[in-house]
Symmetry: C2
Subunit: 403 residues, 2 copies
């Protein structure tokens, strides 16, 4: 195992040449490498040859890039990311990048270059549509969550997996940014000027805080399945005919609804953001309606496929009861709504914002969109036990949001 | 670390002399040692000197003693037991035996001899009463469950603890014997002659099986606190003025209600068993009433102390909300009832019976007591969401059981 050092582009290039067969027979002098990362925690290099052959070299930094060296982070997350992606790629080979090489000592993974894809967030901010996205994500969520759970895995093997994916530092980021900061006057919060009073209302909403406590406790204690842990629109690469989920470093055993809710939360953030992003009203309304349909399709696609797995692949006879399985699915549904709500709230007033809101040029529209996000977030968290199905949710959405 | 070999008494004696200072200055020839274990998984030796100095040498066997070498078991459980007991003894020093020495390689722990105590099960079968028992157990449960949970521990440290106490093989025993066997026609089941039809009714009770699936899934996934994992009346030593909880080898991170429910289930097993154990009706009724009062006191003692910890020692500000904390306590309550019900059922028709029922001489009375245990077990599992408080539970008990 090599000794860790932070890569410069030339290091990443030499490393990719030495540890993959991709560039065999090519003159190293004809290869180029540049750092292309815009994430918060890692260096991301692209190594490429004019012929088109390329690879991504991703290296974990020993601190959170967005905060700086004052927030140190374990390099073990590179191991967790690589091992989680290997499991995901066994279950959904088409939906994650190919991993060519992984080195725990250097905290480096070499993987498929997805330059022919775009980051979903950017595309959605631009109002683009991807016909495969929803079906692919429903499959990704149903397959990764079911087949890593006690429903399918040998239960002794599952416990070993829980230990393998104990991920304290990355979980702490979520525990703080998702569940703590937005509900108190935390210095990490990032509140738009003019939005202070609205944000402060969160700190004194005792009913909301009790529900968020429940969702946080479930995040802390419910080892249901191996989560991706960070299914936001910046962790998904898309092409018209392809979907790839990246950045699994937050993986750990947690409540299934967290991954589904994170993704739905991001669709809703875009829904809110379009209020200020898309100028033409007709076009905007049509796009937003499409997003709501997507959310409906995402859940029904997930639920259908997960239910199929439940009926066909549940290994433990004790858990092979239809009555209980529908209760399980209802619990996942309620968690999904709750975590989607938390995502909406924390992306609006917490540390890590999203372009769906931040890039709205008109200040008043931006604040209105942020207000929509908070209203939806609060409603999802508070009403998740009463919202029986997606029709109820969509009715609530349309009722609450200027549209 | 020594290489494992199964101890004979002379090995245990020599080991105790070599690894504690208890017998310093005593002529080894004056020491004696005998195997006194009656448990299912271990050898238990008592090493003693005529002066009264003594110690227990407990060694894990590489298989389940009650089943035989066909059910192999990891020796790692000796590590888990010793490490769990060390945590328990930090939290409740008076309520667990002192540990003098622990050796992972030999799977051996040397601990305080509790020969001046009796095993609670035997004492309760004999109808004895222990004035400290309930208060001590309420304290043991409240303190060990609260202070090993995310409510109190640094949440990163708690995750390391989860990994430390991953305990697949011992958990599997519970997963099978508690949650699987009694609800199907399993060869491991042990059904009284004449009770076959009653037992078989469990296999076809779909409502019951759905609730048991929920309880099993929570046992598999809910990493709330470091459980003892096996709080039955054979794991508790008592004296009029002392209570000691032993045998922590089933320890793992699970749902808090499992430990509380296991203990209450054992009080109820004795309640049912007294129907056939105690001949004099007045005495029996008084003793049984006392048991119900004990159950009431156990829960209220636990809830009071746990609530005190919640209000005074919750470290995570997100979880420091009274509204949510009362919901948490209600969830623990419902789990407690459910797991108590499972304990009643599995001890009646499953592999591992209890003397509270088995030692009833009169066959008809024994079957009646077993029937009471099943009725109560089913009612606790099925009605745990409607039983709002202990008064409801006791009313249900008195209503269901000939008394």
């Amino acid at each position: 195992m090599a000794v860790y050092k932070t890569f410069q582009p030339q290091d990443a290039l030499a490393y990719a040449v030495a540890h993959t067969s991709l560039f065999e027979g090519l003159d190293p002098a004809t290869l180029s490498c540049s750092e292309i990362g815009d994430g918060n925690l890692n260096l991301v290099f692209k190594v490429s040859h004019p012929s088109g052959t390329s690879a991504i070299v991703k290296q974990a930094l020993p601190y959170a890039r967005c905060v700086g060296e004052s927030w140190p982070l374990t390099l073990d997350r590179a191991r967790i990311e690589a091992e989680a992606m290997l499991i995901e790629s066994e279950l959904c080979p088409a939906l994650v990048p190919t991993i060519y090489h992984y080195d725990a000592g250097m905290a480096v993974t070499i993987m498929e270059d997805l330059s022919d894809h775009v980051i979903l967030r950017q595309a959605m901010v631009a109002g683009e549509h991807f016909p495969r996205l929803i079906e692919d994500m429903a499959r990704f969520l149903a397959d990764t969550l079911f087949f890593t759970s006690d429903l399918y895995l040998d239960q002794q093997q599952k416990k070993a997996r829980v230990a393998q994916f104990i991920n304290p530092e990355l979980c702490k980021i979520t525990e703080d940014l998702f569940f703590l900061d937005p509900y108190c006057d935390h210095e990490r919060n990032n509140v738009y000027p003019g939005f202070e009073t609205r944000a402060a209302a969160l700190w004194h909403n005792e009913a909301l805080k009790a529900e968020v406590a429940e969702l946080k406790f479930r995040f802390l204690t419910e080892a249901q399945a191996l989560l991706h842990g960070d299914v936001h629109a910046g962790s998904i690469f898309v092409r018209q005919d392809s979907t790839k989920v990246i950045d699994a470093e937050f993986a750990y055993y947690g409540p299934m609804g967290f991954d589904i809710g994170s993704f739905i939360g991001n669709l809703l953030l875009n829904f809110c953001g379009q209020w200020g992003l898309m100028a033409a009203e007709d076009q905007r309304n049509a796009y937003r309606s499409g997003l709501l349909e997507s959310i409906d399709q995402l859940w029904s696609g997930f639920a259908e496929r997960f239910s199929e797995h439940l009926s066909q692949s549940t290994r433990d006879p004790s858990l092979n009861t239809l009555r209980w399985q529908s209760r399980l699915l209802r619990g996942i549904w309620q968690d999904t709504l709750g975590y989607a709500g938390c995502e909406l709230i924390r992306r609006t007033v917490g540390l890590a914002h999203v372009k769906d809101l931040d890039s709205i040029a008109d200040e008043q529209r931006r604040l209105q969109a942020a207000e929509q996000a908070l209203i939806l977030g609060e409603a999802l968290v508070l009403q998740r036990h009463e919202l029986d199905n997606m029709a109820d949710v969509l009715a609530m959405l349309v009722d609450k949001v200027r549209y």
